[in-house]
Every structure is written in C-alpha cells, then in structure tokens.
C-alpha cells in the first residue's frame, strides 16, 4: 500500500506507453477570453492582410473612428476588444436566459 502512495499517478508515469516518452501534464489547456482573442487576433490579422490594403488598421486606435477600415468594421460589429483586452463579454451577442428542465 505504501508503495502505491509513494509512486506517481500511474497515468503520468508513462508505464504502458509504447514510446515511454515523457508524459508530464499538458499545460496547453488554459483557455482565454474569446472577446480578447478576437480583438487581438483581428488586430494582428489586419497586419497579416497588408497586401489586401488593410494594413492601415495598425494605426487605428479606436475602431469607431475608422468606419472605412475593414478590420475596424469587423471589430465594431463583433464588439471585440482591441481597446480593452480585459473585456469578458462578446458584445452584441444577446445572451438568453437558461432554464433547466
């Protein structure tokens, strides 16, 4: 019994793993806020699409001030959070009350 306690969790030990590779815990499971992701991803995507003429978005601080920019337009419609990465809600989504049957 004491042996069981001293040993690491068996599924982390790699025993039975045909490769015997390191089986340390995955640290990639941390998710992060979707709104922040959309804002930042879109901001970077604006750079990515420089060839499409969207590169001017890089100098746009407030999407509302740049209605002709395709990236700002997308940000406004989605209500993403380039200017406020800590936002926790997807704006413009109408969340519905949930009832448990």
């Amino acid at each position: 019994m004491s042996d069981d306690i001293e040993r690491p969790p068996w599924w982390l030990s790699g025993d039975g793993d045909p490769s015997n590779e390191d089986s340390s815990s995955d640290d990639s499971g941390a998710s992060w806020d979707m709104a922040s992701m959309l804002g930042m991803v879109t901001s970077m995507a604006g750079q990515w699409w420089a060839s499409s003429g969207a590169s001017q978005h890089a100098s746009h601080d407030d999407p509302a001030d740049n209605p002709d920019c395709v990236i700002c337009k997308g940000l406004l419609v989605l209500g993403s959070a380039t200017a406020a990465p800590a936002a926790t809600e997807l704006q413009d989504v109408q969340w519905l009350p949930i009832r448990r049957a």
């Binding site: 599924w11 922040s36 991803v41 995507a45 337009k73 997308g74 997807l90 969340w95 009832r99």
Partner: protein
Amino acid sequence: MLLASAITPSGLTWVTEAALASLPGARVFELDEFDDRDTVRALASMLGVAGAAVTAVDGHGALTSVQRTAALVAAFEHSAVASEPAVILVRGSVPEMVADLCSLAIVLQVGSPGHELTDRLTSMAGVASEGGIEWLLATPPESAAITTATAQVAQGSALGLSIRGVLVAPMPRKTDGWPKHVRDAAREQVTELADRLFGVPVSRSRAGAAPAFSAPARHGIETSVTRNSGGEYLLSLTIPGLQFCDLEVGVWTMDPSYASTHLVLRLDGVTAWRSLDPTLRRCVGVEAVVAGDTVTVPFVPDAGQWPGVENDDEGDAQ
C-alpha cells in the same frame, strides 16, 4: 482529414496508433509541419510596429492562435488534394483551435467579405461545422483528464466536428504490476466516460495496444427544428457531454435585416457559432431550455419579418 489530439502529451503516441489502425494507409502529419514561419515572423514584427495594447501573455496567446489557425488551414487545404487520408496531430485543445478558426472566419465575413483569405477560412469553417472534419481524442483513465475530455468532446461537437471516438489509454495492466483496485478504478473511468458521452465511441487500450475506430465518425451535434402549437419554432441541439459543461446560449446577427443570424453556444469558455436557417432568422430567440444533453431554444416569429401573416398556423415557413 482526421484531427488527432490527446489530453496528455504521452497520449499522442496512443492516438497516433489508434488513428493509423482506424485509417489504414493514412499519412500522419504534425500540425506544426504546416507552420508558415515567414508569416509568424512577420506577425511578431508587426506586433511591435503596431504597438498593440496587449500584455505579453495575451500577445503570445493571440500570436499562437493566429499561427495555429494558419497551420490548420494549410493542413486542411493539403488534405483536400492529397491522395491518401491525412491524420493531423494536434498538441493542445482541438476545440479551442477550431473555435478560433470559426470566430476569425466570421470576423472576416463581416470586415472583409469577398477577400481571398476570407473565402479560405470560411470554406474550412463551413466544412467543420457540417461535420466534414473528423476528430479522435485520447485521454488517460484519470478523473481530471476524463472531465477535460468530456468538456472537449462537448465543445468539439458544438462546433460541428465529427467525433471518430475517444481512446482511453494507457490502461494499468496486471503484467506491469498495478494492483487490482487501480485497474478496477481505471475501468470504471472508462465506463463513466462512455456514459457521459452517449453515442460517441469510447474504447480503451487492450494488452498495450490501441484499438481501431473503424466506424465512420458521427456528426457530433444533432439538430432539429419543430413547431409547437403556439406557433413557436423549437430549435433543439443534442450535444454529448453538454450537461457537464458551463453553458451559455445567445443569438447574434451579422445582418441587421434579421434579428439573429447565428446561435451562439459557449461551453466552458469555447464559443461555437451555428448559422440559423432562413426561417429562424425571421424569428426572435426567447430562452434556452436545457434537459440533459439537449438544449432547446424557442424562436417566436418576428411580426416585422412576416408581413401580412397573422401569428397563427398560417405563419409557417415555406
């Protein structure tokens, strides 16, 4: 294209073995093989130029997201023309990656319709939501890992992925000296996972070998629309593992002509966008009723969208 991932790094070996047993003749790729380093370098450089108001952690996460989205699209486009089936090994959460792809596709549809990149992402997002991308997941038979696997399958199903199955491995073996109570507990975890994910093939490794998941993958999400006697349209979605996730349900529109064009599901922080059919776009979502693994959203016809039609049975869609 079959995406393969695991809850723990060592599970990738197992899921690879299972994928090859399931798809004989398939070719295995790491997602990173499709990485476009030039694009990544350009993005990193442009982050500095843009002076994006993000923290280092968020910036890294966003950059990783873009990098993986680009790689996923490249892998998808490669597999579409490849002569043999492709297995794409993914390190990390497949649902999070596909959710990023779908969200970015929607951003592009709104902000840059008609652009070549918009079409590429939208095409793949559409195939994913319609069940055209399969997914095989591996997890060890440990409580926390089983919980994570359950949530990931629910998220992937909500996104529309076709679930090939869930492999539970490695199992503790008597020949390796594991005591009976450990082996029994592991088997109980397998049973519990199968119960949680009703309808999803769940198999465990046997004698140190991964099984084949030969049955065609099933579309993870089942959707139906009915109409009740009160004239409401009832959109029902059945998602395996749904009841084990924190759920939020909403509606969103990309076209101001309609009250809503998409149903938004957020399961444990992962957002899935489900496009609504023309009938439901002319209605207003009221609430979400959750019963087990099924969520039902009543939609009330929007009088402004049904000109000349009274709110009775005559308002049925054609």
